[in-house]
Amino acid sequence: MSETGQPAPGPALAAAADIEAAAAIDPFRRRVIVARTALCVGVLAVWQAAVSVGLIDPFWISSPHLVAVEMWRLIADGELLTDVWMTVSEALIAFVVSSVLGVVSGLLLARSPFWDEVMAPIIVALNSLPRIALAPLIILWFGVGITAKVVTAFTLIYFILLVNTLGGAKNVDNDIMTIAQLMGASKRDLLWKVTLPSALPWIFAALSIALTYSLLGVIVAEILASNQGLGYLIAASAGNFNTAGVFAALVVLAAIAWAFSTAMRKLEGWLLRWKPSVSSA
């Protein structure tokens, strides 16, 4: 029995095990990285070869070489940077605004059983609507500027955050709630020190999806109507039969999405460091 002796396997033990394991699986890691690189290079090589040998017309699928050249041109004349800046800032604004509103709405609904009951079927209906279909309407209302992009992404993100926050806030452990109340926690304390931290894992699950969706919403709105941003770059390139331009934009988009999700995982790993299952990788 571990009562007076050792704690349950804690970070110290786990860390020691990790170090040993890291040393032990090092060859494994190396093989993973080698295989991953080989896979990517292989795909690029086949792609390049198919075009170089004349198997497929580069008009349709471009080629790694043409994409690299196009990318370089876009970087050199500054166009790419402007587009990236536009798309990233729109996506981040949409993400922050919608997430904050979604979390606040979720917490408010959790406090009012009446409004929760009133809103539940409405939220389900709106949440199951393919909301991206609203994009043309939103552009009609808000024009080609940044507002239309933010609103499009908002329709995608808001309900995800609301539903998850509500779920988390309604699932606070009863014992913890009772003890906090008996200890004299005010309504405000209960919200900030009990409900919110307790719902945080639920909120983070939604935030990761929301980040991807904010990019999706912004890109779709840009493709539909815009004169800047990566969505515009994709639409304009495709319109000019410039497949290399489309691929260049996609590569940059992939890089942005990867950076977003990595940053999110880091933040989550830190904020939820008290959770046994979350790794900070």
Binding site: I176, T178, A180, M183, G184, D189, S198
Partner: protein
């Protein structure tokens, strides 16, 4: 003669679940707990022991009668009581230290860090203050709960089978720890358990409850000297066995009825 700190006056509690027959949980219960003493309620499971604690803490309004703390009628959730359950109720997002701090924090106590540290030391967890819940054993979590409960210096402690979920050796250690902490603070304690050993070891008075609806069946003073012997040694004393037999005789019929 000490003042009664907790008083229940003809308390009856009936639950009325929707679409089902009302359940009379407790009926006509009157009891007092004198200031600085430990009174334990034992009874068959489902006899409304926990319900009584909820009525004292104000979490539950009795259907008839009333509860008093310090001569004042309980009306709404009390913030001057310490409450412990079988489940630890630790906040998993806070370290052990910050869990103990919680009550002091919401009360705006300035030197809460030192107080919390001191209490963690007193329950033997000074080396674990930065550990989260999942890094602690069940017994350690319950130690945190003891520290958290005492740290806010409540006038009254309500204990709802606080060591019931622990393995038997850990339970003995925690009972001893609890009693030694209690000796140094002499808070008024209303304790609920189904463990007769625990009841005798801790209490000044043991109250046996009947099967549902719970009523007071007998009130048995435990006249063993304090500080008490450790539970394992106490169990072999002749007086202990007499008291045990006496309580069990009263309780046995009630448990049997339940079966």
């Amino acid at each position: 003669m000490a003042e009664p700190k907790i008083r229940l006056v003809n308390v009856g509690i009936t639950f009325r679940p929707r679409d089902r027959e009302p359940v009379v949980a407790v009926q006509n219960v009157s009891l007092t707990v004198e200031e600085g003493s430990i009174v334990t309620i034992v009874g068959p499971s489902g006899c409304g022991k926990s319900t009584i604690l909820n009525a004292v803490s104000g979490l539950l309004a009795p259907s008839s009668g009333h509860a008093e703390i310090g001569g004042e009628r309980v009306d709404g959730v009390r913030h001057d009581v310490g409450y412990m359950f079988a489940r630890d109720g630790m906040m998993p997002w806070r370290t052990a230290l910050r869990n103990v701090e919680f009550g002091l924090e919401v009360r705006g106590v300035a030197n809460r860090r030192e107080i919390a540290r001191d209490w963690l030391r007193r329950v033997g967890l000074e080396k674990f203050e930065d550990h989260y819940r999942h890094e602690l054993s069940q017994g350690m979590r319950q130690r945190v709960a003891v520290a958290r409960t005492f740290a806010i210096e409540p006038d009254v402690l309500l204990m709802d089978e606080p060591f019931g979920a622990l393995d038997s050796q850990t339970r003995l250690l925690l009972q001893e720890l609890f009693l030694s902490v209690w000796e140094s603070t002499r808070k008024t304690v209303l304790f609920v358990t189904h463990d007769l050993h625990e009841a005798i070891f801790l209490s000044d008075i043991v109250i046996v409850f009947t099967n549902r609806p719970g009523r007071v069946k007998s009130v048995i003073p435990i006249e063993l000297p304090r500080p008490r012997l450790p539970p394992a040694e106490l169990a072999t004393a002749a007086e202990f066995r007499d008291i045990y037999a006496r309580i069990w005789r009263d309780l046995r019929d009630e448990v049997r009825v339940f079966e």
